[in-house]
Symmetry: C2
Subunit: 247 residues, 2 copies
C-alpha cells in the first residue's frame, strides 16, 4: 500500500532534507521511525516532493512510502509522531494510488519567505524569519516581481552548481504582503530550480532597499547568467508551504 | 548613571534568568556583555524585575544597571545586542532616576500563557506554546477565572518551596482569548508568587478540559493549601510580557 503524508519540520537543526552519511537529516529521521514501525533492520525508503536545504523549513512537505502494514490512514500520524523527534511532525496521511509519486506527480509548489524589518533582532524569530533592518519600498518590489511571473528561463536565478539542463520554469504567483513587522513573499510555480526562491527573495529585498530597480530585475532575467542576479537570501526565512497534485 | 532596559529572551536554552554557578543564565550573559563594554574583569551587576524559570520566555523583561560610560541611551541596545547571544535582545534603553529599581519600583506585571489545542504537535511551537490537545470549554475557564481576580491569599497557587511569607496578591485582569488554534491567557497583577501564573494556567486549563468546575477553583483558593489546586503548566508556554512602573 502506498501512503502519502503531509509533514512539517523546523529546518534549524537538520542538515537539510536528504540523507547524508553521518548527518542528521529529515529523510533519515523519517526512515528511522518507519524502520521501527516495520520492525526491520533494513530501509523503508521515503520519497519527498523535493529536497530542502539546511535551515529551510517545511509547513507542508509531501512524502510517500510503501508499506505492507494495514494501519488505518488516520493512525499513521500518531504512530510516526510518537517515534519522530519533536522538530518533525506528520500532519496528515492518506492512501495513495500505486502510481502516485511525491516528486513526479507534483504539479505545483508554494513557498513562502518571511522577513522582518524591525530595528533590533527578535529572539523568537531568529530561526524563523530573516532580519533585514531596512526600510523597504514594497511598490518597487511588486513592480520587479511582475517581471518574474510567467514562463522564463531562470538561469540567472539558479545556483551555478546544478545538474539540471532545462532552466525554464513557470511562476504563477509572486506576491508580497505586509505582516506588521515586515513582509511575507508568497510564490507558486510548476517547479523551482536549486536556490531559485532564495535568489528571487534576495534580489527583490535588495530592490526594496534601493540597490536594484525593477528594470534591473528584468535585465537580470534576460541575462541568463547567475552573476547578473542578486544574492541568495538566508535559508531560515524560507518555508516549503504546500505541494499540489492532480486528482 | 542608571540605565533601564527592556529585554526579550527565548527561555529554551537558559537555566532560567538568575545567575547559577556553571550554568547558562540570562543574567550571566547580560553581565558578561556588560563586562566587555566596561572593559572590566569584575562584575557589572544587573537587576531585573524578577527571575524567570527555565524555558520561560520574556517579551518585555525590565532590567537596570549602573554605568560610568556616557554612551547615548539609544546606542545601548546596539552595543549590547552586538555582544549578546542571539537568544537575548535588548529592545529599548533609557536613563532612569538614581532611585529607580527594576524590581522594587515595579507596580504591575503582565504575563501571557499560550496553549494550542490542535490534534498533532506543531514543530514551530514546540518551545513557544503548550500543546494541550483537548476540547476546552472557554466559558467555564472564564467563569473560574473570575474567582481569582481581585485581592486574595494565593497560598494554593504558590509553589511550596517558597520563602515569601505574605501570599496576598492582587490580580487585576485574567482573560482568555481564542487565537485560532488555541488560547492565550493574559494576566496582570501587582506581583506574582513563585509558579503562581503556571499553577493558575494549569488549573484553568484542566477546568476547560472538564477536570474541575468553576466552583472547585473557588474552593481551591479558599483552601489556602497548594495540594488543593491543580498542576503547574509547563514553562515553555509562559511569557513575562511587560512590567509597569510609576512615572
Amino acid at each position: 500500500m502506498r501512503m502519502k503524508c503531509t509533514i512539517a519540520y523546523d529546518g534549524h537543526l537538520f542538515n537539510g532534507y536528504q540523507v547524508q552519511p553521518g548527518k542528521r537529516t529529515v529523510q533519515s529521521e523519517l526512515e528511522k521511525a518507519l524502520a521501527v514501525i516495520h520492525k526491520t533492520d533494513g530501509r523503508v525508503p521515503v520519497y519527498s516532493s523535493g529536497r530542502t536545504d539546511s535551515d529551510v523549513h517545511a509547513a507542508g512537505q509531501v512524502i510517500h512510502f510503501d508499506t505492507p502494514l494495514s494501519i488505518p490512514a488516520e493512525k499513521w500520524p500518531f504512530a510516526l509522531n510518537a517515534l519522530l523527534p519533536d522538530d518533525i511532525a506528520v500532519k496528515t496521511a492518506e492512501i495513495a494510488d500505486d502510481g502516485f509519486h511525491a516528486r513526479f506527480s507534483a504539479v505545483q509548489k508554494e513557498y513562502r519567505y518571511f522577513v522582518y524589518t524591525e530595528k533590533h533582532p527578535d529572539v523568537f524569530k531568529r530561526h524563523y524569519a530573516y532580519h533585514f533592518a531596512y526600510q523597504l519600498n514594497v511598490q518597487k518590489m511588486r513592480e520587479a516581481s511582475r517581471h518574474l511571473i510567467g514562463t522564463h528561463d531562470f538561469t540567472s536565478f539558479c545556483a551555478v552548481d546544478t545538474a539540471v539542463q532545462d532552466k525554464v520554469r513557470t511562476i504563477y504567483e509572486l506576491e508580497w504582503t505586509e505582516t506588521g513587522d515586515g513582509l511575507q513573499m508568497r510564490i507558486t510555480g510548476n517547479g523551482f530550480l536549486y536556490n531559485m526562491v532564495r535568489i528571487i527573495a534576495g534580489t527583490l529585498l535588495d530592490t526594496g532597499a534601493g540597490k536594484f530597480s525593477p528594470d534591473d530585475v528584468k535585465a537580470m532575467l534576460e541575462a541568463k547568467d547567475r552573476e547578473a542576479a542578486g544574492r541568495t537570501a538566508p535559508g531560515h526565512g524560507l518555508y516549503l508551504w504546500s505541494v499540489c497534485y492532480d486528482n
